[in-house]
């Protein structure tokens, strides 16, 4: 029997942390979706939860948003317990899920008014808020059209706007840019950055290292329900190997000669399918040296590219195994 000394409407803790998760466990049948996850998010921080499909990111978000209860462990949002103080948690958190969860039949404006009114705004307040948000998310013109006709990027922006109808201090974004084209992604990114200047705390789940790198103050890498690494984007990149240099030669016959010429700069891996040579751990500082040597050996280069580590490679570094594919 646990005796709680705190009144139910009082935060469990008075800490300045926005989110605190302690030893969270969740099972779905035989699958251990969360196997003891613990971390904290400071107020005003953007935390990137990085991991492949099925790593447990969405389960964490669902528990924070009170859509699921943990089997074991504790989680608090703005100091409120997600199980015992669910109503207060719902006042403190805004959720943008993996799908743009907006009503396709209603217009953009009507959607925002709907969600603002459900957050307790009067009709008038809700309409003002909706107008402001449409403006902020460059949706004013589309505001009186049914959402069914919106592009993917517009829907996601509206979805994010719908999360901001109330001043909830914590915003959960579950893979907000999955499936978007690069331009829409960049637009959404700048909106997410603005959340920080609003003073909101952001939990951002993503499968893309670049997205976490661009947006997050701190990244937590999750794999198979466990935290496998934690740090700033810079720290993680330093731990997970740096850029690779990918060379495409004009004449494939010269590959052997190229490998010989570059032998002391690192091991070159040949990709027969693409016809490329990849030098691992090779930053921009080495490019001049590489080009100089190839030029001296009279090897003509068709294309040079610097490639950031992919999530797979970060995983390989951090966990010693490739990420598992989702079912």
């Amino acid at each position: 029997m646990v005796v709680t000394m705190t009144a139910p409407d009082q935060p469990v803790s008075g800490e300045p942390t926005a989110v605190e998760i302690v030893d969270l466990h969740k099972r779905f049948g035989d699958v251990h979706a969360l196997a003891g996850v613990s971390f904290e998010i400071g107020q005003g921080e953007i935390l990137g939860l990085l991991g492949p499909n099925g790593a447990g990111k969405t389960t964490i978000v669902n528990i924070l948003a009170t859509l699921m209860q943990p089997d074991q462990g504790q989680a608090t949002v703005a100091g409120y317990d997600v199980v015992n103080q669910a109503d207060q948690v719902r006042e403190s958190i805004a959720l943008t899920g993996q799908f743009a969860a907006v009503d396709e039949v209603l217009t953009g404006f009507e959607n925002l008014v709907l969600f603002a009114r459900l957050r307790g705004a009067s009709r008038r307040q809700a309409q003002d808020r909706a107008t402001d948000l449409l403006e902020r998310f460059s949706l004013t013109e589309a505001g009186d059209r049914p959402v069914g006709g919106y592009s993917g990027g517009m829907r996601r922006r509206l979805d994010l706007a719908a999360s901001l109808v109330a001043p909830a201090p914590v915003v959960c974004l579950d893979e907000p840019t999955t499936g978007l084209d690069p331009r829409s992604r960049a637009e959404l990114w700048s909106e997410i950055r603005r959340l920080k200047t609003d003073g909101r705390t952001v939990v951002l789940t993503t499968q893309y290292l670049e997205e976490a790198d661009q947006l997050a103050d701190r990244i937590i890498v999750i794999d198979r329900g466990r935290v496998v690494a934690e740090g700033t984007p810079e720290e993680l990149k330093a731990r997970s190997g740096s850029q690779a240099c990918v060379l495409t030669l004009v004449d494939l016959e010269q590959q052997e000669a190229a490998i010989d010429a570059l032998t002391d700069l690192g091991e070159a891996v040949v990709d027969d399918e693409l016809g490329t040579l990849t030098l691992a751990d090779c930053g921009a500082d080495r490019l001049t040296e590489i080009m100089k040597r190839l030029d001296e050996a009279d090897i003509r280069v068709a294309e040079v590219a610097l490639r950031r580590p992919t999530l797979d490679e970060v995983f390989l570094e951090l966990t010693g195994s490739a990420p598992e594919e989702a079912e």
């Binding site: 969405t58 669902n62 948003a65 009170t66 859509l67 699921m68 109503d87 719902r90 006042e91 958190i93 805004a94 959720l95 899920g97 993996q98 799908f99 743009a100 969860a101 907006v102 009503d103 396709e104 039949v105 209603l106 009507e110 709907l114 969600f115 009114r117 459900l118 957050r119 307790g120 049914p146 719908a162």
Partner: protein, 252 residues
Amino acid sequence: MSGFVGDSLVLGSRAMTRSSRNPGSIAGAIVFPLLFFGLFQVVMGRIMDAQGFDYWQLLPSTIVVQAMLFTGMSSAYYVADDKLTGITGRLRSLPINRAAPMMGRAIGDLARALVSMTVVLIAGLLGGMRFERGIGGFLGFVGIALLFAIAVSLGMGLIGYVAKSAVGATSIASIPYLPLLMLSSGFAPVENFPGWMQPVVSRQPVTATIDALRALSGEGDLAGPVIRSILWSVGLAIVFGVLSARAMGRTT
């Protein structure tokens, strides 16, 4: 109960906006019952009248129940659609009353049911139907019909929660519709069914509600059919409501 009324009304107005923009939903609420009414009156009217029944008096009750079943069917679609597009999850993450989403949908369904019932009753009254018991009987008629509509709405909603797709939900929802309607006292007297079927036909909820509506608009024993219909509707609403609440609680 904080916010229950306000949240339900906001979600109810959303449901009504949705149906008002769906041409199929309007046709389903207005055109389809009228078509049904007209066709049965033409095909069966004279046969039934020849057997001593006043078909213009009896048929509107059947068509109203048919309309309640039919307008409720779209609940299956709306619930499945909200579940699959993540709106149910978003609503669950909001600080609103837990029962408000279901109530909001019921308001939308009742609005459609009311439109449908109004159209059918106007057609019936034009054809010669009378409310023999006056205003009390009329109000009872509307009340019993709407209570039945709530049970149907919750039952169809439950199908939406368990279905894998919105189209699938609509198909499943249409399965119970015809047997429940045809194997009732709606179009032919219970005595006309095969002997082994009669106990089922005479006791099922659609028969109970049609009999109650006929008693409220006409003459004869009132208490028996009305109590049976109320028990069925309230019982089904509780069972479907509890199961829906549990299914909704698992939706992310």
